[in-house]
Amino acid sequence: MDFGFSSEQEELRQSLRTLLARECDMGRVRAALDGRVAFDEPLWRALAEFGAMGVAIPEEYGGLGLGLLELCVIAEELGRAVAPVPFSSAVYLYAQLVLAFGSERQRRDRLPQIAAGREIGTCPADALMSPDRTSLRVSRGRLTGRVPMAHDGLVADWAVLPALDEEGRLGLYLARLSGPGAAREPLASIDPTRTCASLVFTDCEVERLGDGVEMPDLSRVVDTAAVLLAFEQLGGAERALEAGCDYARQRVAFGRQIGSFQAIKHMLANMYVAKTLARSNAYYGAWAMATGHGELPVAAATARVSATQAFQECAMNAIQVHGGVGFTWDYDCHVFFRRSNALALVLGPLSTWESLLVERLRDGARTGDA
């Protein structure tokens, strides 16, 4: 039994943290926040060079062929850094979908591009969580319809989308967003460090993802993404807590550091509790994901619920610890707060995962599985 990352994985973390300290300081994050760039392209290239996008992509498709645990470490560090790059859309969602359901040719064509950072992909949350409610239609290989909201949709080159064909059969399609028949409209987001867009397709040439005719079961990809997002949220929670602690030690009121007041102290303790529970649950999710264990549905939902609560609490209360400066544009608190609220919504909100978690526990109890 070992409930922690290996020393190799911890080394990976250290080197990525070093890279991010250099390539993703708050000045860089603010370039995206202020809308000066849509995302941080030099950082994206540096991450590609580091191998971050390809860490869980097999070597035959241009990746490093390490594994999902290594991807958890990367997710946590990118979360800490509030990295202004479309990593989660491209790597947890798009690449995992292509890997899981793409044809051999599609994998060979697309995955090396993702691993090398040459292409960006996305899959809208609603499409993934409830594909049967899609309003997209495919007719003779051409896609028509509108996706009201796609995270990272403004910068993605490709999207995986569910659509109904002429005969009403649901399937996944691979659409090129930069080609003819595809348009996008930017949407302002509560977290401008990641772009959002609505996507509009008019007879856009698409190809079916994979060779089959059956709509695949997406739940495993959803659960994998939930675990990886939980690590991003965990990283963010930890960073927000650290910001709160730093300020509480530094700021003086009534002749004392404000961290010596119980009101502040106990708020920080509660943040620490939420963050620690989230970490333990994220590890549970990581183990279930990496080993393909039957507890993955429960573990993923647990990790997602716990991490969402923790990041939202830590980011919100980091502002409160900061007092007046906490809600100014110039202090970084709101960058964490924005990200915490965006990540809470990006793959089904908390209310959805709460419901899923209990359903899954119930199903486990019925089959005697959990």
């Binding site: 809208p124 949350a125 609603d126 009201p148 909201m149 995270h151 949407l187 302002a188 987001s189 509560i190 977290d191 959002c196 609505s198 030690r249 530094q250 700021r251 003086v252 009121a253 009534f254 002749g255 004392r256 550091q257 007041f261 009101a263 502040i264 939202q312 919100m316 502002i319 409160q320 007092g323 007046g324 906490g326 809600f327 100014t328 544009w329 110039d330 608190c333 709101h334 707060f337 924005r338 609220n341 965006a342 809470a344 919504l345 990006v346 793959l347 089904g348 909100p349 908390l350 209310s351 959805t352």
Partner: protein, 422 residues
């Protein structure tokens, strides 16, 4: 226990209603209804907005409806708390045009009445009531927020008056204000609460520089104000030298009363939204989770409303409203934060969208999310409100104070050391 109008109250209400119907700028009604969270949607640029606000204030003043509770000699109406409440109810959305005058009329005016010289009252109160002159409050500083008595702005003696150097922060409306009420340190050699004095500052004086503070919501209602060798004539000190702290307490007491009856929690917004919004196969309001949350927020909102009403009743019986009003902001701030978060959850991934033209309710809840953290800090943090309730209402002993009997100069030294050590 009678929540309805007495005959006299009903007559006052009818009179107010008639006057408002005849005089209010109804062309702005729709824009005012859409105004919330500090966004005033009337007029174009800031100057035009201000002109519209001033115009309504001037009309009220001329009609005898400005500053109802002020003495009539200063432009008020000598009205009681219940009449103020009735006016507020009748004025409705047009009240939003008065927000720029609240600091002057609600806090600083009463302070001048209590502590100003006859000349101060003559010079300042009527223009304040008519909206001709706008005031701001220059109290907080970067190193003196919750610990207000820790302010460092220095006023030093000079020929015929004082020379001010320092920096204020969180000053609402400094950029359109004519006058400011400023707390400054006149004697650093005594303990912190004792070396302060209160001044009236002309905001157009040379050496006053105003920089807006951009909030996380993108709005800029607050400012930093820098003073560099600003001259204040002797006669513009309020009270005596060293009286600053006790005068500031009067102002802050009035602040708590000024905010009291107009606290919004966002409940009406989320309730209306849940009535209409489709969620989990029905309207959101029919879902038990939504109901449970709405019920708690409804009870809190109702409780705040009737707590304010009870305060007004007490005031009408001649009791002086106490620090119990601290609950209003405390509860409203927390509640609004919860509501905004849940409203976005209901919207799912689309909750991320802040563009008014694409987001639900024109992005109201997204704005609420970004405004609400400020509500828990402005005008005293949640933590300060709880201290006030526990110490002044429940009689809990104050926290141990290390800064009470030390000279301010020595304290600054020690505080710097502590922060460096950590």
């Amino acid at each position: 226990m009678d929540f309805s109008d007495t005959p006299a109250e009903a007559a006052f209400r009818a009179e107010a209603r008639r006057w408002i119907a005849a005089n209010a700028p109804s062309q702005h009604r729709v824009a005012l209804e859409r105004s919330s969270f500090g966004v005033l949607r009337v007029g174009g640029d800031e100057a035009e907005k201000l002109a519209i606000c001033r115009d309504w204030q001037r009309r009220k003043f001329e009609g005898g409806w400005a500053c109802l509770h002020w003495p009539s000699e200063y432009g008020g109406r000598d009205a009681g708390p219940v009449e103020r409440l009735i006016w507020e109810q009748e004025e409705g959305v047009y009240g939003k045009l008065g927000e720029r005058f609240v600091i002057g009329q609600g806090m600083i005016g009463p302070t001048l009445m209590a502590h100003g010289s006859p000349a101060h009252k003559r010079r300042h109160l009527v223009p304040m009531a008519s909206g001709e002159e706008i005031w701001c409050q220059l109290f907080s500083e970067p190193a003196a927020g919750s610990d207000l008595a820790g302010i460092r702005t220095r006023c030093e003696r000079t020929a015929g008056g004082w020379r001010v150097n320092g920096q204020k922060v969180w000053t609402s409306g400094a950029h359109y204000s004519d006058w400011g009420l400023m707390l400054a340190r006149t004697d650093p050699s005594v303990p912190k609460h004792r070396g302060l004095s209160m001044f009236i500052v002309n905001m157009r004086s040379p050496g006053v520089e105003i920089r807006p503070i951009r909030q996380m919501s993108g709005q800029s209602g607050f400012n930093q104000v820098f003073f560099t060798d600003v001259f204040i004539p002797d006669e513009d000190m309020l009270g005596a030298s060293g009286d600053g702290w006790s005068i500031a307490l009067t102002t802050l007491m009035n602040e708590r009363q000024a905010v009291s009856s107009s606290m919004t929690t966002g409940f009406d917004d989320i309730f209306d939204f849940c009535l209409r919004f489709d969620w989990r196969g029905g309207k959101a309001i029919d879902d038990p989770v939504v109901r449970s949350k709405l019920a708690t927020w409804a009870a809190r909102t109702s409780g705040l409303r009737f707590t304010a009403m009870r305060t007004i009743s007490s005031a009408a019986r001649g009791e002086v409203p106490g620090p119990e009003n601290s609950i209003l902001k405390l509860v409203a701030g927390m509640t609004m934060q919860e509501i905004a978060k849940f409203a976005l959850d209901l919207q799912g991934a689309a909750g991320m969208v802040a563009s008014p033209e694409f987001a639900e309710e024109e992005g109201k809840f997204q704005l609420m999310l970004l405004r609400s953290p400020g509500m828990r800090v402005e005008g005293g943090t949640d933590e300060i409100q709880r201290n006030i309730l526990a110490e002044r209402v429940l009689g809990m002993p104050p926290d141990h104070r290390v800064d009470k009997d030390v000279s301010f100069a020595a304290l600054m030294q020690a505080a710097g050391d502590a922060a460096r050590r950590s």
